[in-house]
Symmetry: D2
Subunit: 510 residues, 4 copies
């Protein structure tokens, strides 16, 4: 059954898929590997915003109480924060601010989360918290300009519905935090965008109370945020975790859920940001390093933009550290890249997305067909996966398309195909074959970079009646990008391949 792709666009591909990407805690942005990885990501993908935890945690040193002449005072210091944001902007990506966690000196308790000890308790002084928020945003406005900062969404806290991210997962306390914070933000400038409640999956029952709270008390809210993951409980092994996964379609369901739950509320029409998503929520699950992950997420990345305003892959780099310093190059981190800029298959899924056109010609369970302004047709296709792990997944999968390429008069197209699967574009597989070296040598790192590049195939295909019939064979866990451009042939009349080695024209035929 060949799918006949129509010639007219059926829709547009928004850039929600690249509206945001996740990052490890704020001050990791000072690192060189981090910045070089981000530079690669921006060159090949080009995210608009970046979001991570820890803006106010102690590693950034923003909140600095001190004593002078017998009284307690506070200095707000942006030494590192500026260095990170300066680097972001220089790399063409903007902050999606997450206000949290609590500076130890302002915290009401000492509960922390992660190896790097983010304090997750409410402030001991709401006034000082509001001062901190205002001072921070005023500093940003002073340094980067109001026009710039108005483009940075501001989210209040992270997953307050979980006890390890917010003391006792206290909903009322979160509402209070939200209220104080949102007002503080708007005092700096009424056009700054603030939102929440940044909840984790499985707690949509927080949404309607949040809507009711802000409505009842006229608290400003410009967007609604939620996270999405599909993994089950963690089965720990040393320095790692295994988890079951539900099918990837659950992610799209989760993307849709805030609008569904808020139907009828005052927040029903607000933008929805999925401020984190991935398969597993664990930074030590090897699934992130695999081609499976890319093929599993491909339909989500291809379609998520129909449901929400952004959905932020958690995260762009393995320079991360929530579970401490990794003990091995590949370690199941969330990153599109692991350390030393080694690309994972999911990196290429995003890089392929970045080469799609913005006219959507067709969508299907295993493909997305687009065209850009120059007429180039780009097909993203992926192999179906078995998320249960009961089977290794299909060995072969075929997508049959009839594609409109060029004008009726065009005679041929140039095809470039880029593929990532269990073997190709897969540094993880190569690393496993190498014996999983924890600290690869310089030579091994070079080899990993070579094996991490997608396989490229090319051909010249005849266009007949303005169409190309394409049978795309995909191997296990493959994600592939096919780009087709009608050929403007410049071959001169005297060209004769047969003469390459000096034979008289027509000699071979004779």
């Amino acid at each position: 059954m060949r799918i006949v792709v129509p010639e007219r666009a059926t829709g547009r591909l928004t850039d929600a898929w690249r509206a945001c990407v996740g990052t490890g805690r704020f001050e990791l942005g000072l690192r060189r590997d981090y910045q070089e990885s981000l530079a690669l990501v921006q060159r090949d993908i080009g995210f608009r915003h970046i979001r991570g935890h820890g803006l106010f945690s102690d590693g950034t040193g923003v909140y600095r109480p001190y004593e002078y002449q017998g009284s307690c005072r506070v200095r707000h210091a942006f030494t590192y924060v500026d260095q990170v944001i300066d680097a972001y902007l220089a790399l063409g990506v903007r902050p999606f601010l997450e206000l949290g966690f609590m500076p130890a000196a302002l915290a009401s308790g000492d509960q922390t989360v992660f190896w790097w000890r983010g304090n997750v308790t409410p402030p001991k002084s709401w006034t000082e918290w509001a001062d901190l928020v205002r001072a921070t945003l005023r500093h940003f406005v002073d340094r980067y300009g109001l026009d710039e900062v108005r483009t940075w969404p501001i989210e209040v806290w992270n997953e307050p519905n979980l006890t390890h991210f917010w003391q006792n997962a206290d909903q009322d306390a979160y509402h209070r935090l939200y209220e104080v914070t949102a007002h503080a933000v708007k005092e700096v400038d009424a056009a700054l965008q603030v939102g929440g409640p940044a909840i984790s999956p499985g707690s949509d029952e927080w949404l309607m109370p949040f809507a009711e709270f802000v409505t009842a008390r006229s608290v400003p809210v410009d967007f609604v945020s939620r996270h999405a993951y599909t993994s089950g409980p963690a089965q720990h092994v040393p320095f790692g975790t295994h988890q079951t996964l539900v099918p990837a379609s659950s992610l799209l369901d989760q993307f849709a859920s805030p609008r569904r739950h808020l139907r009828g509320s005052a927040l029903a029409e607000l933008p929805v940001h999925i401020t984190e998503f991935n398969s597993s929520y664990r930074p030590d699950n090897r699934v992130h390093d695999t081609a499976f992950n890319a093929a599993y997420l491909a339909p989500v990345v291809a379609a998520g933009g129909d449901l929400v305003d952004s959905f932020s892959y958690w995260t762009f780099s393995d320079m991360f550290e929530e579970e401490g310093v990794p003990t091995s190059l590949f370690h199941g981190g969330f990153g599109l890249l692991t350390h030393r800029q080694i690309k994972k298959p999911t990196y290429h899924l995003y890089a392929f997305m970045a080469r799609l056109g913005d006219e959507v010609l067709a969508r299907g369970a295993d493909h997305l067909v687009t065209r850009d302004a120059t007429g180039r047709v780009a097909v993203l296709a992926w192999a179906p996966v078995d998320a249960t792990g009961d089977t290794p997944g299909q060995e072969r999968h075929t997508v049959r398309l009839s594609l409109p390429v060029g004008t009726a008069a065009a005679g041929a197209a140039f095809l470039l195909r880029s593929s990532v699967n269990e073997e190709e574009g897969n540094a993880w597989t190569a690393w496993c074959e190498m014996g999983r070296p924890a600290s690869p040598t310089a030579g091994q790192l070079d080899n990993l970079r070579e094996t991490a590049e997608p396989a490229r195939r090319h051909a010249r295909l005849p266009i007949e009646g303005g169409r190309i019939e394409l049978d795309l064979h995909l191997s296990r866990h493959e994600v592939t990008l096919v780009e087709l451009t009608a050929v403007a042939d410049e071959t001169p009349p005297w060209w004769d391949d047969d003469r390459l080695l000096g034979r008289t024209p027509g000699e071979r035929a004779a």
Copy 2:
């Protein structure tokens, strides 16, 4: 028939293959594309010397006569020469000086060669020529130090046996030029290395008279030089040439011929430098752009070092211009790279050579097996070609090897294979498929760079009894590099691939 490669080295791979590379005329070294291409080449290949024409031609502006107070004087100016040599040294490559051609103002006639008009007549004043040589070498010694300049071979003129390179191909006049020049060189420093006669193929009858001349007159000579090409007469088409080729083994014969011809002479034991070689001697023969060229030359590059002290691929880059400005990106230039740093298949032949070890374990008609100090075994293999062009060449070729890898105790090896053939690592084929765009767009250039990279395949192979049995299948015109490293397995005991998707260990078996 499997070839059993012995475990003990049978020889060493000298670096004669990378002792020198050719370049377009001297002042092209000022260009950015040239320097960026050379930087790539040096990173991936690492030549020791670089040789080209035109040191004294008008484009470098070295010889500058002027009048002052009624008398004629000469200034020797090194403004551009220094810029080029500074760049060479910064890129880790040294000049192999060719003294020529004649500055127009010092020439006795106005015969020129090439689009860029190199004057090929004797000097009108031998004194001024000797002054020019001395001034140039003294300047180099002043600027770069005597120890450095002593490592730069100095060749006198280029192909004086051809009438278009040396007026009338006058052998006596060349001998005089050589004598005057060699003495001028040695006056600067007796340890500078000077040589000739830099003859083209097919004129070995010049060698013995040259030996007799220098012996009879006690003229210093430190090395003997000759060129080697295998192409027949040029069949011109617009902006291009076709030529027949003789088998590549002729190149090795040509390499060997100076020693053969000089047997018994005083020059018999001198170093021999093949200061130019390639398949075709034309800068507009598309054969240079193809995988055929790489496969054709592979046995030459692999074995030439047994015969001579250097053999210099003519040339590293298509930034060249002997036939004028190319009218198209690919145009049959000599370069390992064409403009804009697009790699050709022969580039990869050299890059593969650079990854061989220096112990030779085996050599054959279609392979070379080496090992390096870390124990890594590297196999360079190539498909046989049909140089007549009567057939397209074999579609498949197989090399069967039994390779010693690791110790007897080693359990497995990591294999990385890099391939270049009619499809893979072949920007030329992709460019033909694109419709041969003369001026590719930015997007097409990106695609060409992607298709120019070798295909990479990897696997883990069992080592049995310290050996791996390897069947290497090569496609048409393929050159392939296989690297094998015994695996030091760091896989922890708890690793279980079956658990990747969270299943209970052993579940699938049940």
Copy 3:
């Protein structure tokens, strides 16, 4: 007498001063030194357009006639032209196209200009010339887009009023060339901007006939262009030239002359582009290397924008070659930079201009006072020069200003002063002191780069009543930039400089 600078802006500083800069012939744009110099220039100055000769000369290889199947045909090749324009756009500067000179194969005669032999005769076929123009512009539109190419002014030929630039300085022939060319341009796109007559100084009598010709025959013309220089006849010495200069005010007169001469004509309201200007028109006059040149041109660069739409400094770099390869690092080239990116004083004049604000507060014979959107006040001041050379010029010159800085409440300003004069920011003087080495060593080049940087002085000045009284002392041939910013003092209350070395506060007083 102190000049009281008003607080309100009296005008705006247009960017006509950086609307265009000159360059050596087209294919020099392929060189690395050229591109690195242009990168520096764009970082520190930021020109909008760049204009030079030789787009159609043989070094770019655009016009390529050939024979095929018995007939003569032409290929238009853009191999190098694309490389250069790609580089320009990547560096943020756009071509100001000059159509010329004549390809040798299309020329009606063999008269050439310059060492690089630009052919200056009319085409032997007006049809082929028109084809060449159309093909070139169509190629640009295809490659860069119509929106982009519409921003590139297109000038027809260069200085046709001089016999060495246009055979016989034949005015009718130029009018014909202009007519054919302008129509060819507009056939590609009616919104492309075409203009002329690109005359040299002293030939304004060409303007009105040009206006009459285009009016009478309805030939399109979008702008008028002229050159401006102030030097007298060349007195040659070996590798150099001396010339007298008239006062710099002549340049401003020359800028104004096209509008004056065209008053009443149909071209009276057209944009005027001074497509070349400098003190001397010779590329071997050392005056270009000096601080004198910067001080001499300062009033012109500061005020020229009031008179014309652009005035293009001829040229940005000494990588130039009209008189052949320079025999010495400094050689009197036009460049803002000489080879190896050594900055000349005039470079800094432009870099200082780039730091001015766009509100003009005051203008005078020796100063220009501006303010930018942040409130920073920037003063460009220069010492008067004696263009006759009869005196060495004043040793000291003082500019006394009362400047409005900050609000009335502001207490102090930070002053940063950058100076270039006979000693400071003056690599030329240092090079003379070094003994004028033709080919400086690496160490000397480092020293020259160090001495080429402006002297920087800084201070904190009290603001009284919103004003700073500034006495600016300038030494001979000085150009200086003073930047004043009101201090937002963040000094904490506990700061006490006296305690730096650990003394008890107030101890020294006691």
Copy 4:
């Protein structure tokens, strides 16, 4: 009184002054600002080794105990350590290893030092500590090669004589630590260099017992180490410290003290490394940011190499964090550079040292005169300072020298002088004048980089009788470098400065 500097060398300048430099804790080496600063330092100064704390602290994640199958095991992980050392070696600097502090999981107590909590208690298992040391060094040998690692000195712990660096400052416990560690090191390779006791100033009474202990128990020791500082007790202000200083000569006394104290012991002849020195030992004392610091330390850096094998400036960069995240760009950090690669005056002291020759011609209280192989004479001179702070220090200081430059025949010298003082090359002063902005804007950072460059002055001086009489005037806290090179004059005979503006030769005279 003019000092007549002899023509013959009186000694050699060893490179002890650049043998080592200090750094903040190990994993800060992952940061971009850190690496870019180190790249600058290596380009301008070129240290041989780099030493800091924290190799084994939790931020590097080396020591990783875990449970598997019911038993406790340990993994040694080098993920970050390799990234840092790879970067060091790529930048041309080698580790000077300091083994410490204690991984929390291996510690016997929970006492920590610094904001980043380095654990300073003995190991709870000596076996595991020895394992950790061996595993680390074996890993280094595997990765970098034995020849390389043998050049890395290995120091055992840091300042064990202070209770905040070593629990209870327990001398016996340190001796045990040293013994266990030194043996572990030598088990990996007998030629690795190990040493201690890394004591702080004022505890030389630890030296002889250390010597007796290692002698009595035949513990290997390859070098002796000590620190040197001259500051008194800390007087705290918010985010800062003031301290008195003793005269800088005390540093030289301290350098000499290990040899003095160990006279007669078995360690008497061992190399002595001063593994930390500076004026103040506090990372928040603004004295480090000043020209005072450079002038104060100049005689120490100039002479220290006569006393010890290395003396390591503590530290190269303000990316440091012992007292937490700095609240301001300038904050009194130890660095030669503060954040964002802003150079401090002491940076230039070192950069000036790097331009000295290796022949010492003269030494004095305020100068050091050297000559290099090319004949260039370089004078480092400095103004005397008042370390008490009772006076601001002399406003002017003059050094009068008679210097041998060039041969007797030489006619002139080129002088290049580079100066740093209270105004010049002093970003700190500029920053104070700016109002001490905690987070300078991009424009302010540019201005600070400009003001941080030394003032450069140049002149041509006559050589008479092979000598130049030089009166060097220094302003307050100035450190200056004067470089003198005999001029090889290439001025052509027709050069006439008087003709620059086109006057007839000799006209002005008339």
